[in-house]
Structures are given as structure tokens and as C-alpha cells.
């Protein structure tokens, strides 16, 4: 099998987006709509002792206030599935938790009503707000081991060890969390921007005791997700319950400050790394201990050893990891969840070792070629990290870079530094059940599992369908992110493209075969729509089921049930990762010591690039995330009262246009034919990995100062 390069076509939904015509969850006009607003808890831990709704009910326009008594008790535990988010409870586990939901005829009345509610609490003063706090509980997880790092480290002649820190961060997609719920004829329809319409549906079924037939979740367009919208949100069942009790549609747009406190976040994490090199200057052993901030009941795993062993073919690796449980809301998956911070730490450490050895950091990395997964002892299906490094160095103009730090200074005193950083991300996949219908009326409809968060999943699907079928692309509907069109699966972890394009390809092949059979040797001419019209067939529809390597019926059954059905990166015969190399130039201003990033070159190995235009944008976005995470973003815990101090976009600073310079993106574009029929691995997450390390390494090259804790601040270089 082969897979030819794909043409550069415009983003399939760009026209609607520039017209402002794209409908996001909060954009649907519904008759008799009511507006909701949550009341957040003002203590960090404890219990609501009294909550009077009287003042809120006196506000003109308020129709109902929901409190703990309006919800069924928590559902029974279900094997293999995490519990859905709690609804409204009297017990308070973290600051900002909802204690009531006010529903009103207008948004203004709902806000006024919510502000009128003043519960009384029995506060528990023993809460622990930070990982260094007294009540923090450390829980190690299984170590990640390949070879024997302790023995190998003894053989090392050069060693580097240091600690690296990455702060808590919040995703802040521009579309705020929102839910619009409609209860009609015994069916609950929920519009919510989510990456997991199936997960939202499952949580609603369990929290509100509804059957699968009674819940539809629609999320056809998501205004950015980055992992925060990957699961069920706490507010969703509250809004749905209000719609059920009142018999009218209810909408809640969650204020951003409440999102900071209730939705997931990237937990603070720390990395103690030791790398040893032999006499030839090759890395031979790694010892790596990581830990992370965690809530009391949270399940986000500290998978910091997912990618470091897959980078440089180091045979002996020993990694430990631990959760540190405190009183906060549950942390979760945020773009390149663990590989972003671990690649910052690990590729900084690799750079420090290269400096210690007096070797050019690109040449040092090229001494090491990864061909096997040392943890599971399997060959990689493909790994073109060397090609990324070589191509990136060529485009960037790396040759001639002075080895010593502080050697490139502009006449005005600006220090210039060049850094390289690498990253990887697992190539994962889930099954898909897709239907494809081509009509004599000129329409085509493809329905499958997938969510469009802006990464361009619809554009990848369109590429396959217009490549394989003579159809009218202007009348192609790609129905995804809707539990009523196909079984849905959470879209995250860079598994979207690899999980849907093989389904599009197989569906197209099956449809072509069905039409050929129908034509029975006749050749009426024209595109498929005209051919169908010529033989008087209104439409032809096919269904296909696809699975990833090693997957089978039980994975398909999990998909049908709305559960997680992801495999990877270890498959029966191989291990699969995507790779990237970033080359970064930084300027450090002489007086303010402000760090600027005027140019970046990033070369990715994501297998075959299915949609070149949206893929380039994905990588640029990942680089922006890398710059923003490294130089700007940190959410600060209030150690006295719990909760997050900088819970808005003025105080939680993210990269703006003026922070970003030129970003040149390239692809190796060589298909991984073991992974799937298109040869496509994942891209959205790997794009960010290694970028922060490249910045750190460039800052060292500019200044001679090694920064090991993100975000880098002006005061770190004074």
C-alpha cells in the first residue's frame, strides 16, 4: 500500500467561520429560552449549612433556584468508568464549586439572582491548597523501567542532574464552557461545545437516571478545546436538570472565573532528572523522578515517562512518578498533557549534557537514533526525528552557530540565542463506525465519530472523500460531534485523524463498489450524483467499521457504548510516535531583560500529512502554545483561601499577537504504512512538545543562564 501526498486545499469550514455563520453551542436560538447562572462556593472545604433562595426568588424574572435537594443522589459506581462529575452537593471539596443554580427569564436577572444568594458554611480550616502544604498526600504510581538504569549509570563518565518545574495552567479556549439543554417529549437534547459528546451523554444518563435513547448531545463545532472539553463538565447536569424541571430550554454560559475553578487544568509538576553519557559522549542511562499536583479523588495520570524514553534510543531508563493529593478540583488533560512538561524538562537536560560535553546540541542529538521502544521492547513503526533535526537545521541556518553562550550580541546590547528542542507524542487510535451516503440530488453525507475543535478534522475527511469520489464538495455534509449521527468517541490525544480518515477511505471504496454493482457495466457519465440520477436511484448508502492495529470487536463494542476505546502507542507488533524538532531564536533585551521570540522553524514527522494547510496551522498553534507556556502562563493558587487568584484573561496572560514572530513549518511527510492505510500519525499535540525546551536552550545560548522553571520571567534574567 502507498499513500500519495495530498494537495493544499482551503479549510473546509473557513467560509462559514469568516462570515460569523458557524453555530457554536451558545448560538442556537430557541423559543422560550431561560438563562442560568451558578452560585460558587466561597470556602475551600467544608459544608453548606444553610442556603436561602428567598432573596433570589424576589428578583424580578427569576423562576427557579436549584439546590442540592433538586438532584438525585450520586449514581452507583460502575466498573471501568470514572464517576460522572458531582451535581450540587452540600459538601464542598474546593473553592468555586457550585452550590446553587439560578434560572431566570433573562441573563441579567439570573446574574442578579445568583449574586443575591448568600449561603452559610461550616468551613473546614484544615484544607491543603498547595503541594507543599501540610495535608498533601504523596501517592507513587508504577515506575517505568527499561533495562537497568542504576547499573548503567555507574558506567557513565559524564553525568548531568537537575530539577525542572512546570506550573499549573488553564486551557482557556476562547469559547467558554456552556450548555443549552432542551427537554421535550421525554428526550433531553444538549448543545455543548465538547470534545466528548459521548462522555457528556454518559454522565447525563448516570447523573439524571436517563436511558441512552433519552439523551442526545450535539457539539458540531467547538470553539477550541485543548483538552478542557474532553470530558463531562460539572455544570452540564445542573442545566439539564433545570430544563427537565421547568419544561423550557435553559442556557448557561459559564463565566471564565468559574471555569478556572471548576473545569480541569494542567497540574503543577516537577521533574528530577539524571542523564549519564559514556566515554564516547553517548547517552546511556536516565533516572527520572516526576510528581504532580492532584486533587483528592482525581484520576489524571502522571504519565511523564510516556515520551522521554522514545526520543534518543537510551537503553537503560528508570522513571518514577507520583501524585500529590491536595484540596482542589480535578486536574486533567491540557494540550500535550504530560509530554509538554516532560519534554521541557528532558530536552533541557539533554541540552545541558551537550553543553557539559562541549558538543553542538544538534550534533549531540544526531548521535542518538531511536529505533526501538526500550520500555516495551518493540520496534518503532516509523521515527524520522533525525530527518526533522537535519531539515530544521538547514532551514534555520544553524550552521556556524557559536558553541559558547553569550557570543551573539547586537550593537544595542540585545543578546541573541539559538536553541533546539525535540518532542514526541503517542500515535493513538480508536475504532470508528461511519456511514456515507451519496444522493442523486447532488448531496453527500459522511457521518462518523469525531469532533471539530479547529484542528481541521473535517478538512482531513474532505480530502479523502474528494480524492476518492466524483462528488460535489460544495454539498458535502460531514456530520460529527453528535451522538445522534454515529457512535461518538472523545476526540483528543491527537487520535482524531488516524481514527477517522481510514473510515472515510474505506467508506469511499465500499460506496464506489456499490455504485459499480448498481451500474452493472453501464457508464452513464458525469459525477456520482449524475450517475445515480441516470439509473433513477435516489441515493446509495454504505456503512463501515474500522479498527486500529490489534483492535477488534470488544473495542468496537466499547465505542458503541460511548466509552474509551483508544489503543496505542504500543501495538502488537510495534510502537508508534509522532516527532518534532523546533529551532528557536530568542532576543533578550539589554535593559528590561525581556525575552522575545522573533522566529521559529518547526519540522514535524506526523506520517503522511492529510490536510497540508490545516496541518501547518496546527503546528503554528502548537508553537504559540509552547511560547505562551514557557514565557507567560501560570495559574496561581491562593495559599490562604484556596482557589485560583488570577482567574481571568487579564491576569492569566497568554501569548497575544505581538508576542509571536515568524513561524516556519515543515513536514517530513513520509507515510507510516504500518499504522494505517493513509500512513497518518497524529499532529496537534506533538506540535507543542519540545518547543519550551528549545526556548530554554536558546535563552541559555543567549545569556549563559539556565532557566529550569516555567514560565520564564524578566526577574529570572536580571
Amino acid at each position: 500500500m502507498t499513500s500519495a501526498p495530498f494537495p493544499n486545499r482551503p479549510r473546509v469550514d473557513a467560509l462559514d467561520k469568516v462570515l460569523g455563520a458557524t453555530k457554536y453551542a451558545a448560538d442556537y436560538a430557541l423559543p422560550n429560552l431561560l438563562y442560568a447562572m451558578q452560585v460558587p462556593a466561597t470556602i475551600a472545604k467544608g459544608r453548606v449549612t444553610a442556603l436561602s433562595i428567598d432573596a433570589a426568588m424576589r428578583v424580578a424574572g427569576v423562576v427557579k433556584v436549584l439546590t442540592a435537594g433538586d438532584f438525585p443522589p450520586p449514581p452507583a459506581a460502575q466498573q471501568g468508568a470514572p464517576p460522572p462529575p458531582a451535581t450540587i452537593t452540600r459538601d464542598i471539596a474546593y473553592r468555586g464549586q457550585p452550590v446553587a443554580l439560578v434560572v431566570a427569564e433573562t441573563l441579567e436577572a439570573a446574574i442578579q439572582g445568583a449574586e443575591a444568594i448568600r449561603p452559610t458554611y461550616a468551613a473546614d480550616a484544615t484544607f491543603t491548597a498547595t503541594i507543599d502544604g501540610k495535608g498533601a498526600v504523596r501517592q507513587p504510581v508504577q515506575p517505568t523501567v527499561g533495562g537497568n538504569a542504576t547499573t548503567a549509570m555507574v558506567q557513565a563518565v559524564t553525568r548531568h542532574s537537575a530539577e525542572y518545574v512546570s506550573p499549573a495552567q488553564h486551557h482557556n479556549p476562547m469559547e467558554m464552557l456552556s450548555t443549552t439543554a432542551v427537554w421535550e417529549g421525554g428526550v433531553l437534547t444538549v448543545y455543548e461545545g465538547t470534545q466528548g459528546s459521548n462522555a457528556v451523554k454518559g454522565a447525563l444518563m448516570r447523573n439524571l437516571r436517563l436511558t441512552s435513547e433519552q439523551v442526545v448531545v450535539k457539539s458540531p463545532q467547538v470553539g477550541g478545546g485543548f483538552g478542557q472539553k474532553g470530558g463531562a463538565q460539572r455544570h452540564t447536569a445542573l442545566v439539564a436538570r433545570a430544563a427537565m424541571l421547568l419544561g423550557r430550554p435553559v442556557k448557561l454560559v459559564v463565566p471564565r472565573g468559574q471555569i478556572f475553578h471548576n473545569a480541569s487544568f494542567r497540574p503543577k509538576n516537577r521533574h528530577r532528572i539524571e542523564i549519564g553519557a559514556d566515554a564516547a559522549g553517548k547517552m546511556i542511562a536516565v533516572r527520572y523522578d516526576a510528581d504532580q499536583q492532584q486533587s483528592r479523588e482525581g484520576q489524571f495520570p502522571p504519565n511523564y515517562h510516556e515520551t522521554p524514553p522514545m526520543m534518543y534510543g537510551i537503553p537503560d531508563y528508570h522513571g518514577t512518578a507520583a501524585n500529590i493529593r491536595i484540596d482542589t478540583q480535578a486536574p486533567g488533560y491540557m494540550r500535550a498533557p504530560t509530554p509538554h512538561p516532560s519534554s521541557f524538562a528532558f530536552d533541557s537536560a539533554v541540552d545541558e549534557l551537550a553543553v557539559k560535553l562541549g558538543v553542538d546540541p544538534v550534533a549531540f542529538r544526531l548521535r542518538h537514533r531511536a529505533t526501538r521502544d526500550p520500555i516495551d521492547d518493540k520496534p518503532f513503526s516509523s521515527c524520522f526525528l533525525h530527518e526533522c533535526l537535519s531539515e530544521g537545521a538547514r532551514r534555520f541556518g544553524w550552521k556556524g552557530r557559536p558553541l559558547a553562550p553569550g557570543a551573539m550580541v547586537r550593537p544595542d546590547g540585545t543578546q541573541v540565542g539559538w536553541g533546539v528542542g525535540c518532542g514526541a507524542y503517542p500515535a493513538n487510535v480508536h475504532p470508528n463506525i461511519a456511514t456515507l451516503r451519496v444522493g442523486a440530488d447532488g448531496t453527500t453525507r459522511f457521518a462518523a465519530a469525531g469532533h471539530e475543535m479547529g484542528q481541521g478534522i473535517r478538512s482531513t475527511i474532505e480530502q479523502i472523500l474528494v480524492r476518492d469520489l466524483a462528488i460535489d464538495p460544495a454539498r458535502l455534509e460531514i456530520a460529527i460531534g453528535d451522538t445522534s449521527v454515529a457512535p461518538q468517541h472523545v476526540t483528543a490525544g491527537s487520535w482524531g485523524t488516524a481514527s477517522v480518515v481510514p473510515a472515510a477511505e474505506q467508506a469511499a471504496a465500499k460506496l464506489k463498489a456499490a455504485i459499480a454493482e448498481l451500474l452493472a457495466g453501464r457508464s452513464p457519465g458525469g459525477n456520482l450524483h449524475r450517475q445515480l440520477a441516470a439509473v433513477r436511484r435516489p441515493f446509495v448508502q454504505v456503512e463501515v467499521t474500522t479498527v486500529g492495529p490489534g483492535q477488534g470487536d470488544k473495542d468496537v463494542a466499547r465505542l458503541r457504548q460511548g466509552g474509551m476505546a483508544v489503543s496505542g502507542p504500543e501495538y502488537p507488533a510495534f510502537t508508534s510516535f509522532s516527532y518534532i524538532a523546533h529551532f528557536v531564536e530568542v532576543h533578550v533585551e539589554p535593559h528590561t531583560r525581556r525575552i522575545r521570540v522573533p522566529r521559529v522553524v518547526s519540522i514535524a514527522d506526523c506520517g503522511r500529512v492529510v490536510s497540508p494547510r490545516t496541518a501547518e496551522s496546527q503546528v503554528r498553534g502548537g508553537v504559540v502554545w509552547g511560547i505562551s507556556a514557557c514565557l507567560r502562563e501560570a495559574t496561581e493558587v491562593d495559599p490562604r483561601f484556596g482557589g485560583w487568584l488570577n482567574n481571568d484573561l487579564a491576569d492569566y496572560v497568554v501569548a497575544v499577537n505581538a508576542d509571536i514572530g515568524e513561524i516556519d513549518v515543515g513536514f517530513i511527510d513520509r507515510p507510516d504504512m504500518q499504522f494505517n492505510s493513509l500512513g497518518a500519525k497524529g499532529l496537534g499535540e506533538v506540535a507543542m512538545t519540545g518547543c519550551a525546551a528549545a526556548i530554554a536552550n536558546a535563552v541559555f545560548h543567549a545569556t549563559g543562564t539556565r532557566l529550569r522553571e516555567m514560565p520564564f520571567r524578566i526577574e529570572d534574567l536580571l
Binding site: 482551503p10 479549510r11 473557513a14 467560509l15 462559514d16 467561520k17 469568516v18 462570515l19 460569523g20 455563520a21 457554536y24 451558545a26 448560538d27 436560538a29 424574572g61 427569564e105 433573562t106 441573563l107 441579567e108 436577572a109 486551557h171 482557556n172 479556549p173 476562547m174 469559547e175 467558554m176 463545532q221 467547538v222 470553539g223 477550541g224 485543548f226 454560559v253 463565566p255 471564565r256 479547529g454 484542528q455 525581556r594 494547510r613 490545516t614 501547518e616 496551522s617 496546527q618 503554528r620 498553534g621 502548537g622 508553537v623 504559540v624 502554545w625 481571568d648 484573561l649 487579564a650 496572560v653 497568554v654 501569548a655 497575544v656 499577537n657 505581538a658 508576542d659 509571536i660 513561524i663
Partner: protein, 204 residues
């Protein structure tokens, strides 16, 4: 980022002062004289007491509002114009950017009451007729978007950026566009799109 980078000439950046204290618009008066079309008034919501007549996308739009209503909520919840987006409701992100009398404002920080008799232009009214505004076409050509949520605000700000005479260099465009956050990180494409339109010298 640095607060100093976001501030600047009061007449062109999105600030509470601009949004609330701007002078009544000449453009509005001209439109009324030209006999702007009149939209049917939507049913007033409970608690609405204030009748205003903004000229929304060229049409006089009588509407009775709760005096606390923001321009953004008026557009989205009462007039069904959902192109302008709520990204923060605090004037911190730019997703709600619209034009009042041709100048960009954060509609979430603008009381709807202040738009009585003034010309409000949203993304839905940017293009003449059924075609695309050159900036909309440039955003497609340069893939200056991903999720699309901030895009209406970016485009309204981008048009204002050129009108304000700030699209003179990539650095100047970046400064003038830094009130509009794009979390997907489409900034390079956004600068390309604006430079493209500005470079063609077309009136926007």
C-alpha cells in the same frame, strides 16, 4: 503580556473609556438621513423598560431592553446576531469586537443603551451584499483561523486596524491586533491576511 503593549491611542484601542464615552456618530446621522431600513422590533423580554433604536448593520432596529444589557447580549440574545462572541465578558479577549460608528469596541463592555441612534456594524453586516469583504477572503486565503470562535472579532479588529492606519508594518499590525486573543494561535496567518489586504491598497 506587557500592559504597555496593549494600550496606545485611545481613539483606536478597545477600552472602557472608548466604549462608554465616544462621541455621537456622524455616520449614524448620515445613515438615518439616507433612510435606513427599519427592522421589526423583537418582543421585549420581561423587565425590559428602555426603548432604543440603534442602526444595526444598516437597519434601524427598535428594541426594548433591560437597561443593564450589554451590547453583546443585545446582539446575541435579542437580535439573533451571534457572530460576535462572548470569550470573557470583561473586555479582555476581543472576541466580541464590533464597530460603533465605524470604530472598534468591545461590545461586552458597551452598554446597549449607549448605542441608541448609533451605527453598529457586526460581522454579519461587514460585507456589501452577498459577497465577502476583502478581509474575510484574506482570512480564508491565509488560513488565519482554526476553531473560528475569535474570528469575527479578529476580522472586525483587522478592518479597524487598516482604517486606523496601523497596518504599516508587520510589527505595527501585531501591536494593533493584540487586544484580540486567538488561543488556537493563528497569529501568523492573521498578520499575513491584514498585510495582504493593506498591501493591495483597497479601501476597507
Amino acid at each position: 503580556m506587557d500592559g504597555g503593549e496593549r494600550s496606545g491611542d485611545d481613539s483606536s484601542t478597545i477600552t472602557r473609556r472608548t466604549a462608554l464615552g465616544g462621541t455621537a456618530g456622524l455616520a449614524a446621522a448620515v445613515l438615518i438621513d439616507a433612510g435606513a431600513a427599519v427592522s421589526a422590533a423583537p418582543a421585549p423580554p420581561p423587565g425590559a423598560t428602555l426603548l432604543i433604536k440603534p442602526i444595526v448593520n444598516g437597519r434601524v432596529t427598535p428594541v426594548t431592553i433591560d437597561p443593564r444589557t450589554s451590547l453583546l447580549d443585545l446582539l446575541r440574545e435579542l437580535l439573533g446576531l451571534t457572530g460576535a462572541k462572548k470569550g470573557c465578558d470583561h473586555g479582555q479577549c476581543g472576541a466580541c469586537t464590533v464597530h460603533i460608528d465605524g470604530r472598534r469596541v468591545a461590545s461586552c463592555l458597551t452598554l446597549a443603551a449607549k448605542t441608541d441612534g448609533r451605527a453598529v456594524t457586526t460581522i454579519e453586516g461587514l460585507a456589501d451584499g452577498d459577497g465577502l469583504h476583502p478581509m474575510q477572503q484574506a482570512f480564508i486565503d491565509h488560513d488565519a483561523l482554526q476553531c473560528g470562535y475569535c474570528t469575527p472579532g479578529q476580522i472586525m479588529a483587522a478592518v479597524a486596524c487598516i482604517r486606523e492606519g496601523k497596518a504599516t508594518s508587520r510589527a505595527s499590525i501585531r501591536e494593533a491586533m493584540s487586544g484580540n486573543i486567538c488561543r488556537c494561535g493563528a497569529y501568523v496567518g492573521i498578520v499575513d491576511a491584514i498585510a495582504d489586504v493593506a498591501g493591495k491598497g483597497r479601501r476597507v
